[in-house]
């Protein structure tokens, strides 16, 4: 149910998101090369081990290419906040 979106045309294939995904749902897409010339990361959800929406991949992505969507439940602890001024 939770999911992420990767802007894969800007992905440089550094694999940081692969290293830190606790469910190992990310992989390098060897079948295509993006406009920058890299094999981009790809999100493949696994129904048995679904995405947690933990946003660790988005947190580590050096190019800020990952958006995380989560079922709204409890406090949202991520970077989307309203400015307090």
């Amino acid at each position: 149910m939770n999911r992420i979106e990767i802007r894969d045309e800007s992905c440089k294939g550094c694999q940081y998101c692969l290293i830190f995904c606790p469910r190992e749902l990310l992989q390098i897409d060897k079948s295509r090369i993006n406009v920058l010339g890299y094999n981009p990361a790809r999100f493949v959800d696994n129904p048995e081990k679904p995405c947690l929406g933990c946003a660790l991949c988005a947190e580590i992505c050096p190019d800020a290419l990952i958006e995380v969507y989560r079922k709204k439940k409890g406090a949202v602890k991520a970077n989307v906040r309203t400015p307090n001024t």
Binding site: M1, N2, R3, S10, K12, G13, C14, Q15, Y16, I19, F20, L36, Y38, G53, A55, L56, A58, E59, I60, C61, P62, D63, A64, L65, I66, E67, V68, Y69, R70, K71, K72, V76, A78, N79, V80, R81, P83, N84, T85
Partner: protein, 249 residues
Amino acid sequence: MALTKVFTRPDSLRDINFHFCPGCHHGTAHRLICEAIDYYGIRERTIGIPGVGCGVFLYNYFDLDVCEAPHGRAPAVATGFKRVLPQNIIFTYQGDGDLGSIGMSEVIHTANRGENITVFFINNSVYGMTGGQMAPTTLLGQRTTTTPYGRDFRTEGYPIRMAEMLAPLEGVAFAARVSLHTPTQVKKARKAVLRALDIQIKNMGFSFVEFLCACPTNWGLSPRQCIEKIDGEMLQSFPLGTYKNRQDS
């Protein structure tokens, strides 16, 4: 159940591809600073001052006013801005060659005067943009293009620790070293960036945040190996922590 977007690119960060190499942590540092600017709602009155290095193209990526400074002189330019425009939020963004080498005197005296600015220091232990020469922060034994046999303390000295060096100065209100190599450390780094800008908003003095970053190209390692190198070698030479956090204003 409807899905909520919980993580996205901050508004202050323009929708442009970074020119950084794969695995470089400059982009993470950019994002954290933009998130903090959005959090405090200070985008309209913030001025960024990048030094010279890979971070020099900050004006392409940050959707705010930016003034370029000559090599190492970003804290001096920031001092001028802050004195003329005291209501504005001024930060500098400098690498280790820029701040630790050529701009050492500027940053020390700016910190000692207690200028109310924020300095973000990117420490990747090498000169990134100019081709991987030895920086003052290069680790002992690290091979660079100017230390092909590894840095030797007998001829090149020891890696310099800026956060520890600046913390004892009276004018410094906040000095911290954070790392960007794991999501946990990125979250800690976000807190440090928020605190550093908070100090400036409250006019409490000079704030300084040092980021430990990877430079896969000039280290000659894959991004995965870079994380291991930061986790092992680099954290031994550069211990993380908050070295000063003034509470009173």
